[in-house]
């Protein structure tokens, strides 16, 4: 494409049928981004909302987003969880302004339309007009039916203490959406134990949202970019690992088992910067204690397309919510949690290991940075393409990490759904 001399192609086409060379314009076009919102975030896909433990009591609510659409998760007195769109049925205001709280109902301050926690319209001031001098002024038309003017309600799925929702009421069940392979890794973390919320961290990353999905589908980079990981032996190219996808190739799990130390082999010295001698000054940073629920793997990173990543990196567990805002930016919201039966030592261990992750994390701050720099490269010449051919051009599961197969899988799926 570069050969034609066009840097900013008009209505370009993806050359060929593969998914190993992704056009830069897939990250830079506003029209494609809008289509992604419609087809990936607003239809056919369950999107992450939050953890049930964020709204433990009746009346608790949390505001979040599905794609760019502001929504509210509520807990009603019967223990149910509801998700409604934060747009007033009257004149469209985003009325809920607090991030979280507790309330009997949902009130739009503009004209005080009132909704219950399920989103049903329960009150319209002056609905029957105002009596003045023997006549009734104004009021809604006689055929106005409050039941037709509730907030937009999303379909809700709850599993293991996690809440997903969809604007698309015809969507397949959540379990089918994940598929059996990925569901098993989801259930590994969320097996029904009570969770304990540890807190949030937020960052705005100036890059296309897909770059974060790619980042967590990319086992090629951690031993290289994240020098900290490899310096202290937490990530080595000879770690045992597996890469698995769902049947649609949209979700994935990167499963790895930490090497037991030992000599740096030829293999590892070629691909990462592990130095045997390096030790942290405060060993608590790497005080890893095996938990029975892990099974054999010491880290599993699960990407649930398009909206969330589930992190289990040794004792640190979190959800990472992708909240796109425009083709070139997204907010990345980390919710760290533990389990209600953690002893104080385990809780403290999770909090200390959280230093590795998040917007300032030893091995995560660099991910945000490289995503920003990737986007800059794409904007510079949208006619060009990336080269995602480590390990070949296929889209099969893998029993090693020297491959970009998961990224190719995601774009094979993306092409199908997007019609590109």
């Amino acid at each position: 494409m570069d050969a034609t001399g066009t840097i900013f192609p008009v209505d370009p086409h993806w050359p060929g049928t593969g998914s190993s060379r992704i056009p830069f314009w897939a990250y830079t076009r506003d029209d494609l981004y809008k289509r992604e919102l419609e087809r990936l975030f607003y239809a056919n896909h369950w999107c992450y909302i939050g953890l049930e433990v964020e709204v433990p009591e009746p009346g608790d609510f949390k505001r979040t987003v599905v794609g760019e659409r502001s929504v509210i998760m509520t807990r009603t007195a019967d223990g149910e969880i509801h998700v409604v769109e934060n747009v007033c049925a009257h004149r469209g205001m985003r009325f809920c302004r607090e991030k979280r709280g507790n309330s009997k109902d949902l009130l739009c301050p503009y004209h005080q339309w009132n909704y219950d926690l399920k989103g049903n319209l329960t009150g319209v001031p002056f609905r029957r007009g105002v009596k003045q001098g023997g006549k009734v002024n104004g009021g809604m038309p006689a055929d106005f039916k409050p039941e037709d003017h509730g907030l937009t309600k999303l379909k809700v799925a709850r599993r293991g203490g996690v809440v997903f929702a969809s604007f698309d009421h015809s969507i397949e069940p959540f379990e089918a959406f994940l598929g059996p392979t990925i569901l098993a890794y989801f259930d590994r973390v969320f097996d029904g134990r009570k969770l304990e919320l540890l807190g949030y961290r937020r960052q705005r990353i100036p890059g296309n949202w897909k770059l974060m999905q790619e980042n967590i589908k990319d086992p090629y980079h951690p031993g290289l970019l994240h020098t900290w990981f490899s310096t202290f032996g937490l990530w080595r190219a000879d770690n045992q690992s597996e890469l698995k996808m769902d049947a649609h190739l949209r979700h994935a799990a990167m499963i790895s088992t930490r090497g037991q130390g030992g000599k740096v082999t030829e293999v590892t010295s070629g691909i990462d910067s592990f130095k045997e001698a390096m030790k942290v000054n405060d060993p608590r940073l790497l005080d890893i204690v095996h938990e029975p629920w892990w099974g054999k793997p010491t880290a599993v990173m699960t990407t649930i397309f398009p909206s969330v990543i589930i992190q289990q990196q040794v004792n640190s567990v979190s959800t990472r919510h992708i909240q796109p805002n425009g083709h070139g930016s997204f907010d990345f919201v980390w919710t760290h949690f533990g389990f209600a039966d953690d002893d104080p030592e385990m809780k403290q261990r999770r909090l200390i290991q959280a230093n590795l992750f998040g917007p300032a994390g030893f091995v995560s701050a660099d991910d945000g940075e490289v995503i920003e720099w990737s986007q800059e490269g794409f904007e510079q010449k949208p006619s060009h393409r990336t080269l995602v051919e480590m390990g070949g051009t296929d889209t099969t599961d893998s029993d090693h990490m020297v491959t970009e197969t998961l990224i190719r899988g995601m774009y094979a799926y993306w092409r199908k759904v997007m019609g590109e």
Binding site: G199, Q203, T227, N281, D282, R284, D331, P359, D366
Partner: protein, 161 residues
């Protein structure tokens, strides 16, 4: 509560700290802390909700040194300058403890970030909440908690606040 001499030492601690973290002389940063001193940088939403998670929770001088190693040696990031503007510290209490005099103080701060070829932007605004003790080498932090209003970090935060 504090005599003039002690308050002037406190001012000196705050301004030296700002000087060091703005200077790229990261090796000097851990020296402001006791050996078991802590440095925590926490989004205000967690602080207000009583949630323990921090952006950084460095639980000892050794761990603060580990952070310095990360900043200097391992973390890839856009280089930037930072500039702290720290308000006048307010002394909340002065107590006598088994370690001697302990001052509880707080001060507002703003940190500006300037990337190469970039314009200067407000990077992080918040409040220091400190516990400070007197040692033979002058005042040191037993704990420094930075609670920041700027909950949405502009991509990443590398250097110490």
């Amino acid at each position: 509560m504090l005599d003039f001499q002690s308050y002037s030492e406190l001012l000196d601690l705050y301004s030296s700290y700002a000087g060091v973290v703005d200077s790229s002389d990261w090796e000097k940063w851990p020296e402001f802390f006791l050996d078991d001193g802590t440095y925590r940088l926490q989004p205000r939403e967690n602080f207000d909700a009583g949630l323990p998670l921090c952006l950084l929770a460095l639980e000892s001088k050794a761990m603060i040194r580990d952070r310095v190693f990360g900043v200097k040696e391992t973390m890839y990031h856009d280089p930037y300058y930072q500039r702290h503007v720290v308000g006048t510290p307010r002394v909340l209490s002065v107590k006598t403890t088994d370690r001697g005099e302990e001052i509880e103080a707080e001060a507002n701060y703003i940190v500006f970030r300037t990337k190469r070829e970039g314009v200067t932007e407000v990077f992080n605004a918040g409040r220091y909440r400190d516990a400070i003790v007197r040692t033979t080498e002058g005042l040191k932090f037993r704990s420094r908690l930075c609670v920041y209003d700027s909950e949405m970090i502009p991509n990443s935060l590398i250097y110490p606040i």
